[in-house]
Each structure stands twice: as C-alpha cells, then as structure tokens.
Symmetry: none
C-alpha cells in the first residue's frame, strides 16, 4: 500500500511556513509498511483542493488530508472531498451534540458556525476528536481510502495514533516493523554521524534516521521482517555495534526525553532538584515540569534574571558579582549552592550566560553559558560556548544542564 498526504491551509503557502504534520504521518505510515509517494499543500480553495484530491487518488491507494476541518469559511476540506469523490455531505446530529458537549465542558456556548463541523461525508465513519472540535472522517471508495484529520498537530497526532493507525494496520499485509530509538546528549550531529555512519550505512534493513535538535540527537533504527523475533534480532545486531561507540553520551535506548530520564533517576534515588536560572529565564524548570508527576522530585527554585535578584534571592555577594561578572563560573556555583540551600533540595542546577543577540565581549561572546550543579558533597561548573540565535542558545543551555544532572545521578548508582 502506498499513500499521499495533502495539507490544507493557505498559510502553508507563504514564505515562512510549511507543512510539518506530514513528517509525523510519514514516520507512522512507514512503521506500518506504507510508503509515502507524494505530498502536497493546497490553499483554502475548494475547487483547487478537489482537483488535487482527484490527482492524488489516481496515483495512491491511501490519501490523508490534514487541516481545513475548522468551523470557518476558509475551512473547505469537507466540501472539497465531497466534490472530488462525488458524494453528499450530511449534517450529523450526533456529531453536533458531541461538539456542543465539548463547549459545555468548557462552560461556553457553541457558536452557530461550529455546526459546519458536524457535516459528514456520505458513507464516511466519524473519527471523534477529544482534543478539539473538528472530528476526522474515514471514507472508502473504489478501493481507495481517504482519511480527513484535523490540522493542529496535537489533535492530528492523537487522532492518528488512537483511531487510524490500528485500522490501517489491519489493511496492510502483515509485515512486522520494529524500531528502536537511541538518544544521545552532548555531541554535535556531524561528529556523531562520523562515528556511527561506517556501521549503519552497511545495513539497508534496519533503516537508519538521525535527527538532531540543540544538544540532543535521536537515532532511529527501523527493521522490517516477517516475524517479530526476526525484526528484533536485526535491531539488536545494529544497536550492539553502535551503542559502544557512543558510550555514556547515550542516555536512553527507548526514545524517552532527557527530562523524563533525569526524572526517573531522581525518583529512583529519592532525590530532588531545584533550579536557579538566569539566561534560561525559567526554561529549565519548564522542561523539568513538562513531565507529569514531576512534583515527586522537583521542588522549585529561582529565576534571577538581574544582579539584584541574584543578590536578594540567592544571597550572592555584590563583591562576587562585581569581581567575576554575572556570567562566570563563580556566580554559577554560588547560584546553584544558594538555590540548594534555600530549597533544601538534594541537587540544584544553575545557568548564567549570554543568550544575545546583544551584549557580547571578546572575553565573553554571545553564546557563553556557565552551568553549575550543586550536590550533597560537591558542586561543579562548566563553561560552554553555544552557537546560534537566542532560542537555540537557551535550548542548548537547558539541555546541557539536564545532562549534567543525568551524569551525576548515573555516577551515584
């Protein structure tokens, strides 16, 4: 089975934006053994979209359409599919009631225009949306399957994973696809690739994909075989060669985020962590608490963006700040120790740096970040020099801070 994907929305035809939902869908479809053979983006134009849909259906067995299911005039996907397939579109009381109930849960009244979202293609099955108002639809015709999914990524993903994936799996020949995701912290993608490419390029099965975000790399291996045991064996052979090359920079073999891995380590050790953030402004706390249940090990802490706050909230001396400057190893250490003392947490992490774009000097250029970790018996700090814009530098800082704690926790095993 092969598939095409159409993303609906004029905003994705502007110079600054494009469709990214299709990347997620491609990954999931590939896991099912379904190849994506074409992708398109079309604006909010019914006739044009209908023409594109007919074209895609002439080429592919399966068509996924994301977006354009909202309540407004420019949400034309339902109408375009009806036109392309030559089927009617009927108001569905049940769907309307579900949308209305959702509004009631939010203690609001449903707008009249949301009734538009209750129109269902003749012969289609409704895919309820528990994260938004737009229900999806699944319709089959002439041996082809067309699936309408909402545009907001969180709604689209939940609907695909919860309601589409398993239904598709039953329609494709049994091919077992098993994958494993290694994650690596603290090295550049090109260095990692130079290290592991000589191994993974020798294999077409498992297939390898390497993805990088600031400080973090994901290595996906995907094996296809007739049986699960066979697929697992293929994966094991490759992982057993790659893992030793990466060493302790490998922080998970099961694709978890670094903040989740760190949280689990803290919980296992009955330890807690506090924060004292300057250049990251709260981003470290935000990331630690993005994990549900993080109150088990996250106490809280301080955002001390100005020198005055560093003095007032963390008890750092004016002399220290004056002598070393706010962006210094000494201040990073004092911040971490101050936060640990004031919160009573087992560990405290601090960040202080220059995220830019202004304020750099030859000695302390933009991208300089000191990260410190205070623990029960010791405190240590490291200087980093990150490259990129403000968001990227702050992202690196948060990631490396978490990795510093991970290494400390791993060492206490």
């Amino acid at each position: 089975m092969n598939a095409e994907i159409i993303a609906a929305g004029s905003e994705m035809l502007t110079p600054a934006r494009t469709d990214t939902n299709s990347l997620y869908l491609t990954a999931r479809l590939n896991e099912l053994g379904i190849e994506v053979v074409g992708k398109s983006i079309v604006g909010d134009d019914r006739a044009r979209m209908a023409h594109m849909i007919r074209g895609a259906l002439a080429r592919a067995d399966l068509l996924l359409i994301t977006g354009g299911l909202g309540p407004t005039e420019d949400d034309v996907t339902r109408d375009a599919v009806a036109e392309a397939l030559g089927v009617g579109l009927h108001f569905n009381e049940e769907v309307c009631a579900a949308i209305e109930a959702r509004f009631m849960r939010m203690q609001r009244k449903m707008s009249e225009i949301n009734r538009r979202q209750a129109y269902v293609l003749e012969g289609a099955q409704v895919l309820p949306n528990d994260r938004g108002t737009a229900p999806g639809q699944w319709i089959e015709m002439g041996g082809k399957i067309v699936i309408l999914l909402p545009g907001p990524p969180n709604e689209m993903r939940a609907m695909f994973d919860g309601q589409v994936s398993e239904r598709l799996r039953r329609r494709v020949p049994p091919l077992v696809i098993r994958s494993v995701e290694l994650r690596v912290a603290g090295m550049p993608e090109s260095d990692l690739d130079q290290l592991i490419a000589p191994v993974y390029t020798r294999y077409s099965n498992p297939a390898t994909t390497v993805l990088a975000s600031p400080g973090d790399i994901q290595i996906h291996f995907r094996a296809r075989a007739e049986t699960e045991a066979e697929a697992e064996a293929l994966l094991k052979e490759l992982v057993d060669q790659v893992a030793p090359l990466v060493g302790d920079r490998l922080y998970t073999r099961s694709g978890e985020a670094l903040e989740k891995v760190v949280g689990d380590l803290l919980r296992q050790r009955h330890a807690t962590v506090a924060i004292a953030e300057s250049c990251t402004g709260g981003g470290l706390g935000e990331r630690i608490t993005s994990v549900a249940g993080s109150s088990d090990y996250f106490a809280g802490g301080f955002v001390t963006y100005t020198n005055r706050m560093k003095i007032q909230l963390l008890g750092i001396s004016e002399e220290l700040l004056e002598h070393h400057g706010a962006v210094s190893e000494a201040v990073a250490l004092a911040m971490a120790c101050g936060a640990r003392q004031r919160t009573g947490a087992t560990y405290a992490l601090s960040t202080t740096g220059l995220a830019g774009p202004e304020g750099g000097t030859p000695e302390t250029p933009v991208g300089t970040v000191y990260i410190a970790l205070a623990g029960e018996n010791s405190a240590s700090a490291r200087r980093f020099q990150f490259l990129g814009d403000r968001g990227r530098i702050r992202g690196f800082a948060v990631h490396y801070a978490l990795d510093m704690l991970r290494r400390a926790l791993a060492a206490t095993e």
Copy 2:
C-alpha cells in the same frame, strides 16, 4: 499569474526531511505579484511525476520544478516533463561542452553519466548553471510556463535570481503585495471568526488567513494592487472595520508576539515584572525572557512547585494552603503578592493550577488554573478552565497570564 511548485526527490518523502526550496521561491514569486497556489513533493518516479506535472498545469499558469536534474538514474525530472508535455528530449552538444568545461576547470574529467544532463526539452531555453553541472530549462506551451531548476539550494537560488526573476517580471502585470498581521488574545478562534467573518468574507482582496495557537490568534490580511498606496488603502479599509469588532483583545497590528508587546509596555512605563509559577513551572519566565533585552523589565522570581516551596520562598501560610488548597484564588493572590514584595517589582504574575493528566477532582478538574496579578495598589485573580493535554494547558496559562498584565498596563496609559 499564479504558480505551483514541485520538488523532486525521494529523500524529501522521509520522516526527517521536507522541501524548503519552495519557501525561498514563494518569497521571490510573491514579490513579483505571483501567488503560489499549490506545492508538491514527488519521489524519483517518472510516471508519477509526469502525472503530478499535468495536474499542476491544469491548475496554475506557472510551474516551477526543483531537483531531479542530476546525472544519475533517479534524476527523472527531464524525462517526466517531456512525458507530461508530450515533447521530445534532445542531446545538446553545446550544453554538454559547457558541463565538460566545468569539469576541466575543476581539473577533473567528466563522467559518462553527466551526458544525461545535456538533454534539452524540445522548444526549451537552457538556463546555464554556473554553480553546478545541472543546467535549468524554461519551456512555454499552451499559455503555460514550466521552469526546471536544480535542487541544491545555492544553485537554485542563483539561477532563479540571475536568470528567471527578471524574465518573469516582464511577463506579469506590475503588482504590489502588502500585508498586515493583527494578533488577538483571550478568545477562541471560532468566536473571533463569527465576529469578523461577515466583514472579511466580503473581500477577496485583501485575502484573509486566520491562524490559532493556544489562547492566541493571528489574522493575516494580504492586499494586491498596482501601487503601494493602493495596497495600503485596501488594507486600511479592512483593518478599520475589523479592529473595532475585536476591541481590546487586539494586542498588535504589526504581528509581534504578546511577550514583546507586554515588554514594550513595561519599558515605556518604567515598570518591572516578577513571577511566581506553580503549574507553569518556569514557562512564563521563559516566555518573557525569550525577548532580547527583557532584563530591562524582568526582574526574576520564583518557581514554587510544591507547597513547601510556596511556604518557604513566598511566605504563604500553611493555614491558607490547607484551607483553600494550592489550586485556589487565595493562593494565587498570595503567590503574586509574595513575589512582588520579595522582588520589589512593580508587578508580579502568578500561576497555580492542575496541568494533569492526573490529580483532577470534580471541584477542581484538570485544566483549572488560577492566575493572579499583583500591582502597585491592587491584586486580582481569575479562574480559568482550559482544555487539552498538559502542554496545551500550560501554554494557555502562560498566554493568559501575559494578557492579564497587558490589559493592566494598557489601562494605566
């Protein structure tokens, strides 16, 4: 004139990559007054690509195809265009000589396979490539223009800017495109659309696009006219009708992020803000400090994730916490007042809520968030009920907190 863009290359149909050449081309085409009405990606499959090309030419006046002009077997763009247009493909001695000369300048010998790149569509003009071996082509047929460009971005850009842009400009009527972006906080997309659709749907020029993220809506208007003054007048006419409908929920007419608008208001008023975050865990501080120069008005504050930290760092009484619960108006107010007092900031914002997925009760379901703002002479709190997953609830909370401060600042004008 309108255009479609096709990117050729199987690698852009994998989960990790997509086409970005089209973003550059869209920007350049829009400057010429040419609208992009569709974009597609197709793999290295001649028949499929030919089918896509015929589809695009049925919809658009101009078709740009990037990639697939290399020397290897999987470079099928030339053949696909020949098939789609029903024209021949002829070996061109002159083009071959130019490719050979390029190899000689690099002191290398041309491979036999590079001869494939010297095939030219019947009736096409060759677009020499001074940065690579693949020449582009420009062919017109039946009132349509098809342009073949190389895939490597630097080659594609140089060829478009040097050889295509000016030629296109002579073919399109002089047209100026101007756009404006309004942003609205604190109302759902469907409510907003119901309010403004009766106005904007009366206009096809300016064109309107409405985009939403948690708590935040962007309204893009794009006007086309023969002169800049005319385009600006078209925009003004529409904005002057829409803005009064939205009222004080409209926080910018120039597309800035809410945190930037709030920061500018604080700076103008020589005011500062501090934070006391519970359920958002640092996300509010992170967002405020994502703006360069935010140290002018952001002092810092507290992340108090546990009750103990609320007591210890913010001086909230145990009785208050016990009596009202951590997720309550009273605690939100006490957090904001405590943070303001301890930092000396003009304002302090606090958040306390249940981001889930666990921990909800009938009285306080997941998604309940109290946000408080303490100012010079008063403090106020509001209860919100947000829907969605953990990330979405936290995103809403940060956004509504910023908007609460914006409104307070606007009122002090």
